[in-house]
Point group: C2
DNA sequence: GGGATGCCTTGACCCAGATCAACTGAGCCG
DNA sequence: CGGCTCAGTTGATCTGGGTCAAGGCATCCC
């Protein structure tokens, strides 16, 4: 990883790729300096655990690059992913000493960590940080509730289509819906998808094959997906067509 | 309802039953006066809709007494409850003009509403309100994630046991786990339970019958539940025995 | 009283998705 | 090169919970 980010360890907040999306988004330059004083970067390789549920957490953090997952595990091994953390997403909970979920890096990951105690102090003294964190938490709550509908009521096919649509949409917005369809790499293994969707990996595989067979998606290798017609995919998600204009 | 709350409409915040749990929990008396200036009460009868998803919302609110539900509906009628709102819980999202979910009163309900615009102004100027709202939102996010595990991975029996345990625990804490077991009334119909748990009402009914048959619970009528042995019920939830010491 | 309605229960049957198992293919290492 | 591991696919079979259908039992209203 060090070859693309040779200096990530001394990255200046002003040059940070998530400067305007993360908890620090609303900070003025002086507020940013205060955050800068308590931050440090940590990197993880794809597949590495970041924290185990129940571990003491000495920091909170923002994802800078890469993807992490939040999962819960039952004693008998059943697993449910409860969050997918993308760049700018926040990890940890102010006011809580121990992690509530397992956090794992699914791709190479760089996190911007803040020591917890001083961060909590800043939260109390810097409304811009508290406001932004509230806003982000409300967004996550909405996402969690949307996921509850998926887990409780959608069919396997709808679940897969919904997951692909979420990833596709995220990439479509960046890459301006190129002609010839949206294309992206799946950041998750079949098993991780299964844990996210409340399915088994076999069902995930079968449903992906079915969508491929019917031309809704095209696969290049196992991980690279091409969506020739995004509306077609969206129809398969079970959501109402006009993506519900909130806000 | 008016016979227990003859003067709910001019209740003073100092006498409010949720004074120390709701968004206002941390407010000093002067801050409370500011909230008091923009508040008004609204009552709903059991079964009444409070807001429909997509409706313009001119207020945010706290539940004072009674229970409300948050549900999402798909075009074809599949429904998933995504939140159960108990006294002190917060309704609405600052910064959002339209409701994202259907809100329904499942019992007679009294809400303490704040006009949205001035509430948002107070949020920005009164850190005690913002802090409390952040804390409450983080708690709801945790609850939503726990529910994701239930929806994605638990069996029908575990789902029912988990729901009963949540309600039982809430009552046990109040009524100091009386000898002879916890007892409570179910605040939800079988169908509402089904919508909460991602099941059908028939399955809910069958699993409740099974728990009754096996002596895990005792029913008095359709709605009154007695849990002779809370640990026994907890074993059926699938959660790890030592309710995971967070915080 | 009797019909209507709402909530709940129970039975019979079915099917979507889980489970169990075999197999492919790519990368990796000795 | 051959064997190993890891990720994914596919088939055969099973089953938990859904679906469809029939009743039960209060409550309410004419």
């Amino acid at each position: 990883m060090s070859h693309h980010d040779p200096k990530i360890a001394d990255l200046n907040c002003g040059d940070c790729p998530i400067r305007h999306q993360a908890v620090c988004a609303r900070c003025e330059t002086d507020e940013l300096h205060q955050l800068e004083a308590i931050k440090y970067y940590r990197s993880f390789q794809a597949g590495q655990p970041v924290i185990w549920s129940g571990d003491r957490m000495e920091f909170v953090a923002s994802v800078v690059t890469g993807i992490a997952t939040l999962t819960q595990t039952m004693e008998d091994g059943r697993r449910q992913m409860v969050g997918l953390l993308l760049p700018s997403d926040f990890i940890g909970r102010p006011g809580r000493a121990n992690a509530a979920y397992d956090v794992t890096a699914t791709t190479d990951l760089v996190m911007c960590c803040f020591r917890k105690k001083p961060f909590e102090a800043l939260l109390a003294s810097t409304p811009h940080i508290a406001q932004r964190l509230l806003e982000m938490t409300l967004d996550e709550l909405d996402a969690a509730r949307e996921w509850m509908l998926l887990l409780g009521r959608k069919t396997a096919r709808e679940k897969i289509a919904s997951l692909l649509a979420i990833i596709a949409r995220r990439n479509a917005s960046l890459k301006l819906a190129a002609v010839g369809g949206v294309r992206f790499d799946l950041p998750l293994t079949r098993e991780e998808m299964a844990d996210y969707l409340g399915l088994t990996l076999e069902t995930v595989s079968r449903q992906i094959s079915a969508l491929k067979r019917e031309g809704v998606i095209v696969l290049e290798g196992k991980r690279h997906v091409i969506v020739p017609n995004l509306d077609r995919l969206l129809e398969e998600t079970g959501d109402d067509s006009d993506g519900g204009m909130l806000n």
